[in-house]
């Protein structure tokens, strides 16, 4: 009776109900994960094409031929969109959040399983619609992942701005709806489905990060949806929300009075929280992994929670720092600048707490730990350029240079990806019942860490030297000629890094079938997912409802029989 009340659906029998239209949060989580995996391969391939084009602009590629300037812009757009939405938003939250959150809080499933399934399938449709933009007349849109109007608002603005751009916006709108359904589910699950004894302040930091991410998504995606609707109306009905009076190819467009800045405000009101939607789950995973593999409680649990909350809150007040170039009043720019630099405070709290967790720990350098340390490293080196760009006086000269891609790739791109890798290596045994190969994981780690640094650190230098971003060819810019060797080096580094991902892919699929069998708790971790079978049964705890007695990171507890105390271990620990 009790299991039934919270887990309304029985274990399904048929293949389709079990693996395709599944209501099980674990299956849906894996569906999200593999969706993101295909998306990251597409996005990575596009980035490879861009890197090749930047250094060999005249190269004719097999099957693709010459890359024209507009094709290059399509590559920029689709790389950014696919990576931000279908990888960085989908894998950490939809994938791991879906799979792990209910187990970690001791629930049999998400609060609304049907909504969960709908959310995944809407995301998949959005992804297919996005990919379809490659194959329509005119190809994929040119307007970048930020979709700035009026370029994105006029059908005649460029070759990809016809049907391709319509598909792009439709896909984004669908993605918004899917993310809202997901966010609603995460919030309700976290608030209402926690096991007995699992107070909010006993939740693992991963759960906190997914919960805060869901709140950010709930508040942000509605705004992007509204902007998308307005943009679709501008493009197809002839309204003028975003398009001012102007001409395209010498012809009046028929629009007048709209404001391109209105789009930027709406977009970045979503866009900045989106950055945290991508990185917060990585912070949660890093905290979890660093604590487990240092055999120490996380340093400053409450400070970590409040830091994440204040990052989330401040994240809604800083969107203007993406718009310093728009000619905004210096007073607003100053306010946005101060708020932005204020985010440095909770970010530093988190960093120091991670370092404090590592300090004097009995470190176990296994694959999840390596990637978590890599996450911290990238978070610091990518984050340090944030306060530069937060100042209008520095942002204005740097804004359209390679400095900005260098900054956001390190912190939002690669750091978040390292969070995903850490999560993959950490939870793989629970998900598939087997261990991933440690030696391949190390190869993967060192090549990826050094490779990504070699790709993205020089971008800061290129930016300071004045190399513009989004240019398809730099051959005409004579002042950049001496930087060509550095650009080539970055392309070689990108090729090596991408090759290292093949090692990961091989390890992933090989380990699913051939890896060493994993025990229920291979990392000797404390949270609830390690108390259940590997892989977990359909209702996660096989009819048993866990009861929580301890905080999430009870490692090296003095007087305890082992060096870790599970959250569900009854009170053997004496207060001291």
């Amino acid at each position: 009776m009790v299991a039934q009340e919270s887990h309304e659906h029985a274990a399904p029998q048929g293949f389709i109900r079990k693996y395709v239209f599944s209501l099980d949060h674990k299956v849906i989580g894996l569906q999200y994960y593999f969706l993101a995996l295909t998306a990251v391969l597409v996005g990575m391939f596009l980035s490879l094409l861009m890197r090749i084009h930047v250094v060999w602009p005249n190269a004719s590629l097999p099957l693709l031929g010459d890359i024209k300037p507009e094709t290059y812009l399509s590559l920029v757009t689709m790389h950014g969109t696919i990576m931000v939405f279908f990888v960085l938003t989908t894998a950490p939250q939809g994938g791991f959040g879906n799979y792990i959150l209910p187990i970690q809080i001791g629930a049999p499933d998400m609060a609304f399983p049907v909504l969960n399934m709908l959310s995944f399938w809407t995301t998949l449709v959005a992804y297919l619609v996005m990919l379809a933009a490659f194959f329509v007349v005119g190809g994929a849109p040119l307007h970048g992942w930020t979709g700035y109007a009026p370029l994105s608002a006029l059908q005649s603005a460029g070759p990809g701005e016809g049907l391709g751009a319509d598909l792009w916006i439709t896909s984004i709108a669908l993605f918004c709806v899917a993310s809202l359904m997901g966010a609603l589910n995460f919030i309700t699950t976290t608030l209402d489905m926690r096991a007995r004894g699992m107070s909010m302040m006993r939740m693992p930091l991963t759960c906190w990060s997914w919960f805060i991410t869901a709140i950010l998504g709930l508040l942000a995606f509605g705004v992007l949806l509204s902007a998308g609707i307005l943009l679709l109306l501008d493009r197809n009905i002839g309204t003028s929300f975003f398009v001012p009076l102007g001409t395209v190819n010498g012809q009046l467009t028929g629009h007048k009075g709209g404001s391109p800045l209105l789009w930027q405000h709406l977009f970045w009101f979503f866009g900045h929280p989106e950055v945290y939607i991508a990185i917060l789950p990585g912070m949660g995973v890093a905290s979890q992994v660093l604590s487990t593999f240092s055999r120490k409680p996380i340093f400053g649990y409450k400070a970590m929670v409040y830091a994440m909350l204040s990052i989330g809150l401040l994240g809604f007040m800083v969107w203007g720092h993406h718009m310093f170039m728009s000619g905004m009043s210096p007073y607003s720019a100053f306010a946005f600048s101060v708020m932005t630099m204020a985010i440095g405070v909770p970010s530093a709290i988190k960093t120091f707490n991670w370092l404090g967790t590592l300090h004097k720990g009995r470190l176990r350098f296994q694959a999840p730990m390596l990637f978590a340390i890599g996450f911290v490293s990238l978070f610091v080196s990518g984050g340090l350029s944030g306060p530069f760009l937060a100042q209008p006086a520095l942002d204005i000269p740097l804004h359209d240079t390679a400095f900005v891609p260098g900054h956001f790739h390190l912190i939002m791109g690669v750091a978040a990806i390292f969070g995903i890798f850490a999560a993959t290596y950490y939870w793989f045994p629970k998900m598939f019942g087997r261990m991933m190969n440690e030696r391949l994981a190390r190869i993967h780690f060192f090549f990826t860490l050094i490779g990504t640094y070699c790709v993205f650190m020089p971008m800061h230098y290129l930016g300071l030297a004045g190399q513009p971003r989004r240019y398809s060819q730099l051959t005409e810019l004579t002042y950049l000629h001496h930087l060509l060797p550095l650009n080539r080096f970055m392309t070689y580094a990108a090729v090596v890094t991408i090759a290292a991902q093949l090692v990961f892919l091989f390890n992933l699929f090989w380990s699913i079938f051939k890896g060493v069998k994993a025990s229920d708790n291979p990392w000797e971790a404390t949270t609830l997912e390690w108390t259940t079978a590997t892989p977990p049964p359909h209702d996660n705890f096989a009819g048993h409802t866990p009861v929580v007695y301890n905080g999430p990171y009870e490692y090296s507890v003095p007087g305890a029989p082992r060096d870790y105390v599970m959250q569900s271990d009854p009170a053997t620990v004496t207060a001291h």
């Binding site: 309700t188 404001s259 007695y549 004496t574």
Partner: protein, 247 residues
């Protein structure tokens, strides 16, 4: 389904070596609904309401974004190419106010009927155990079909909105005529789509018997839809006030 009541341990799970321990039982986690003997229905209802509250927040954000766009767009000047002067292109739309007020009345009435439907189901649920006692009669069921009336009123409202759009169009205000008319169609249209969702939810609730769903599900759907419906009524009043007083 083979399942059993978990053996909840006798001592409360309060021991931890940190200060965030000493929780009163029940304060931690959503354990309330799993108390043995407490009806499944209440836990499900609370969960559904929590989900709805989150959904309403996202809908609110959508309309806040539209409102800020409305205010920004209203204040924007534009260049008139024929005279080369900066002008304002915001032409106030003459709303079909009488029709809108009629629609408002219909919507508010439907808000009342859905509340009655919700309470009717709560009452039925409360009386269920009594009614099942043999020999006890609660008198003839002469309760009005509030749910059906709400669906009809909701469809009336949507039809009324359709007429209002026709009226606007007949006077030359189309979606793309000017920024003000775009917003009139946008706000009323997105609201109508949301209300249509409410009507669909009520149709689902009305056909639970046909769909072989338990009566409890029907009660939860009606309850959640009722709160949603009230929100839509408030939202409509807000939209009307915005269009009427901020043109």
């Amino acid at each position: 389904m083979a399942s059993f009541t978990p053996a909840v341990s006798a001592h409360h799970p309060t021991t931890s070596r940190r200060r965030d321990s000493g929780l009163p039982p029940g304060a931690g986690g959503g354990g309330d609904g799993r108390r043995p003997g407490s009806p499944d229905y209440r836990a499900r209802l609370r969960r559904a309401r929590l989900g709805l509250a989150s959904a309403l927040v996202s809908i609110l954000m959508l309309f806040i974004a539209f409102t800020s766009a409305y205010i920004v767009r209203q204040g924007l000047p534009t260049l008139d190419p024929s005279t080369n002067k900066v002008v304002h292109d915001w032409i106030p739309v003459q709303l079909p106010t009488a029709l809108f007020l009629f629609n408002t009345t219909v919507l508010l009435l439907s808000s009342v009927t859905i509340e009655l439907a919700r309470r009717q189901l709560v009452r039925q649920a409360a009386l269920e155990p009594v009614a099942s006692i043999p020999g006890v009669s609660l008198g003839k069921d002469r309760e009005l079909p509030w749910l059906g009336m709400t669906i009809v009123l909701g469809l009336c409202f949507l039809t009324g909105q359709w007429l209002a759009w026709n009226d606007l169009a007949s006077r030359g205000f189309y979606v793309a005529t000017g920024p003000s008319s775009s917003f009139v169609y946008l706000l009323t249209g997105v609201h109508a789509v949301h209300l249509l969702g409410g009507v669909v939810a009520l149709l689902v609730a009305g056909s639970t018997v046909l769909l072989h769903r338990p009566l409890e599900s029907r009660r939860i759907v009606v309850d959640v839809t009722a709160w949603y419906w009230h929100f839509m009524a408030l939202l409509w009043i807000y939209i009307l006030a915005l269009l009427e007083f901020a043109r």
